[in-house]
């Protein structure tokens, strides 16, 4: 058998070794190739966002001008201003924040409880229910949406309380653990709780703590970072969710993604009031892509700003799900 252990040949020049390395994966050439590839793909990732930002600050003359590709010649904030008013801005963002914040709170709490039950207790049919948690992720939303909608219409008619067009239906579903991607949040908690030593629970129980006290004083207080991660994920997903929200809210409350979806029609309505502006070809208030891009930027902005500060939590959060096998 030929021995292959790193005995470097004497006649190998230093340069060659530096370029190719002992193994191909630690040579300079490989590294440069990796960098080029990573940067290229990162460019593709960011391309739509960069385009969007560049278009946001272009004046209407710049957009038509074929010579201008990336950097606008006449910087203007008109697009942002128009998009701001079309999205009826300060109200919409406040609505969005409290709406997704409420749902996220409910979701976080219920996921923590469910995760705790799975991590600490042996109950009957546990494996079956765990499989059901995973199933709830796989079942497509449209197939459960219709009966849910019918239920809330019925509830509205029977009780006389207004349901459709309020936060109630989604809040109720979040409290019942059936919000957006609930299964993933449960998995994050489940895996984290499993790592907390059981000895702590037992010690507290010997001292006479009830299960709720153990849950609150030991488990929850020890897992503040995890709670924060789950809350952030839930917040982001609820903020970006528009399918279920559009079904239950209709257009009763102005929320960011919904307003963005209706941007064209709202713009039409609003620009009709500007005398002599709408419909005129080349006029300042004809809808164009840069208005839409500005609106998209405004919609994304809150999440992007948040991501800048807490990006570590997000990436680690997915690792905490433990779905990569432990």
């Amino acid at each position: 058998m030929k021995l292959n252990i790193g005995l470097p040949k004497v006649n190998t020049s230093k340069l060659k070794r530096k370029l190719l390395g002992y193994n191909i994966s630690d040579g300079l050439v490989y590294r440069i190739a990796v960098y080029i590839l990573l940067v290229a793909i990162a460019y593709v990732f960011l391309y739509p966002l960069l385009r969007m930002i560049s278009m946001t600050f272009m004046s209407s003359a710049d957009i038509i001008n074929p010579e201008i590709d990336w950097v606008p010649q006449n910087w203007s904030l008109t697009n942002l201003r128009v998009a701001w008013s079309v999205l009826s801005m300060p109200t919409t963002i406040l609505n969005s924040l409290w709406y997704s914040g409420t749902l996220a709170l409910a979701q976080t709490f219920i996921s923590a409880m469910t995760g705790f039950a799975f991590a600490r207790y042996q109950f009957k049919f546990k494996n079956f229910w765990f499989a059901m948690v995973l199933m709830s992720f796989i079942i497509p939303v449209p197939v459960v949406l219709i009966p849910r909608w019918m239920m809330f219409i019925t509830a509205q008619n029977v009780t006389g309380i207004k349901m459709i067009g309020t936060v109630f239906p989604q809040l109720l579903m979040a409290i019942a653990g059936q919000g957006v991607y609930s299964a993933i949040l449960i998995l994050i908690f489940f895996n984290f709780f499993k790592m907390i030593p059981v000895v702590l629970d037992e010690a507290a129980k010997i001292d006479g703590a009830s299960s709720w006290q153990v849950f609150y004083h030991i488990i929850l207080k020890m897992s503040v970072p995890t709670i924060a991660t789950v809350f952030l994920f839930s917040f982001v997903w609820n903020y970006n969710e528009s399918y279920i929200t559009a079904t239950f809210l209709r257009s009763a409350l102005k929320l960011m993604p919904l307003q963005l979806g209706l941007f064209d029609s709202i713009f039409e309505k609003m620009s009709a009031n500007v005398p002599g502006a709408s419909g005129a070809p080349g006029g300042q208030f004809r809808i164009n892509e840069s208005f839409k891009m500005a609106a998209t930027l405004i919609t994304m902005a809150p999440m992007m700003i948040m991501y800048l500060f807490v990006q570590k939590q997000f990436v680690e959060g997915i690792e905490k799900t433990g779905i990569t096998g432990e």
Partner: protein, 332 residues
């Protein structure tokens, strides 16, 4: 709670089960009411004509009429469904392969690693239906024009439907890439858990990087591949890339067809999604549990058992003869 504690007859296990259910109860109720029941009820609805009147919801059985409407009468649904199916088939492997390659590249130690990770994860935070719609409509996601490429034109002449899907893939490549955010993290996490000694051992035995990738990394990462693929299938269904999704929503508020037709849409669509996920399970299942391998193992086990039996038999016979011999010796 206190009363229960005073009863000494209840065993620890029973009490555990009870407390477990207390914590689990809200989710269980929610699942039964908001997921399991609707899931089954949609099947029921899809065979009925549903209408809302003063008395509440009324349903009247009308056989497979809704399905006929969905598949044959509505000119848009079937093509949209086919497009959805084809696009999943093309996108899921693309997303998985790209995210796997990216994870391998990101796995090494080099500068700006975190910065790249942050960039690749960014889409998970900002992606939403309306944002995607706006970006796709503005044409800002298109890099290059695939329709000019010769191979593409050949393909178009064979299968226009598939060619459309591939054109869409390239025209919206950036958006499709955006779905790699979570799979990358999953793969990366899996790669970091592989024992580096395995690689060293393979290198000492003279394996090349390529061999190591196929013989060590991919088999170990296979379960993660399954998780990531299911996640991708589910995610891809949830955004405007999927034409069926919006169609079902419009059907809910459509007064002509009513909820019956909407349910049949939803049910057909879900069936397709579940079949896709089933296919993922089938393709990426653990091969060591294959019937063939199991058979071989059982055969070997059987052989060993037989061997053991004959060994025992021989031993007992030996013992017997020994005894007899000893007995005869004694007699003698």
């Amino acid at each position: 709670m206190k009363q229960r504690k005073n009863k000494p007859s209840r065993s620890f296990q029973k009490q555990q089960s009870r407390t477990g259910y207390v914590f689990f109860f809200p989710w269980m109720i929610g699942f039964l009411i908001f997921t399991l029941f609707p899931f089954l009820y949609t099947i029921y609805l899809s065979f009925h004509k549903v209408s809302l009147n003063v008395l509440g919801w009324t349903t009247a059985f009308n056989g497979i009429d809704n399905y006929v409407t969905a598949l044959l009468r509505n000119p848009n649904f079937t093509p949209a469904l086919i497009q959805f199916f084809l696009s999943e088939i093309v996108y899921v492997p693309t997303i998985l392969i790209i995210s796997f390659i990216l994870a391998i590249l990101l796995n090494g130690k080099f500068r700006f690693r975190t910065a790249f990770r942050i960039i690749y994860f960014l889409p998970v935070i900002v992606i939403s239906g309306s944002v995607m719609n706006q970006l796709m409509n503005s044409g800002n996601v298109q890099i290059g024009n695939v329709r000019r490429i010769f191979i593409y034109q050949i393909m178009e002449s064979y299968s226009p439907a598939l060619a459309d899907v591939i054109a869409f893939l390239f025209n919206n490549f950036a958006i499709v890439l955006w779905f790699t955010g979570i799979p990358i993290v999953l793969f990366l996490n899996g790669l970091q858990k592989i024992n580096p000694q395995l690689f060293e051992a393979a290198q000492i035995d003279g394996a090349t990087s390529w061999q190591i990738l196929w013989k060590i990394t991919i088999p170990i990462i296979r379960p993660i591949l399954l998780v990531a693929s299911i996640f991708t299938v589910v995610q891809l269904g949830m955004f405007p890339i999927n034409p069926v999704y919006g169609m079902i929503q419009t059907a809910i508020f459509d007064t002509v067809g009513g909820l019956g037709v909407a349910s049949s849409y939803a049910w057909i669509y879900s069936l397709v999604v579940l079949v896709l996920i089933g296919a993922m399970f089938f393709i990426l299942r653990d091969p060591s549990k294959d019937v063939y391998v199991v058979n071989i193992r059982e055969e070997q086990a059987e052989k060993r058992r037989k061997q053991l039996k004959s060994d025992k038999l021989r031993a007992s016979m030996d013992r017997f003869f020994k005894k007899e011999k000893e007995a005869s010796d004694d007699e003698a």
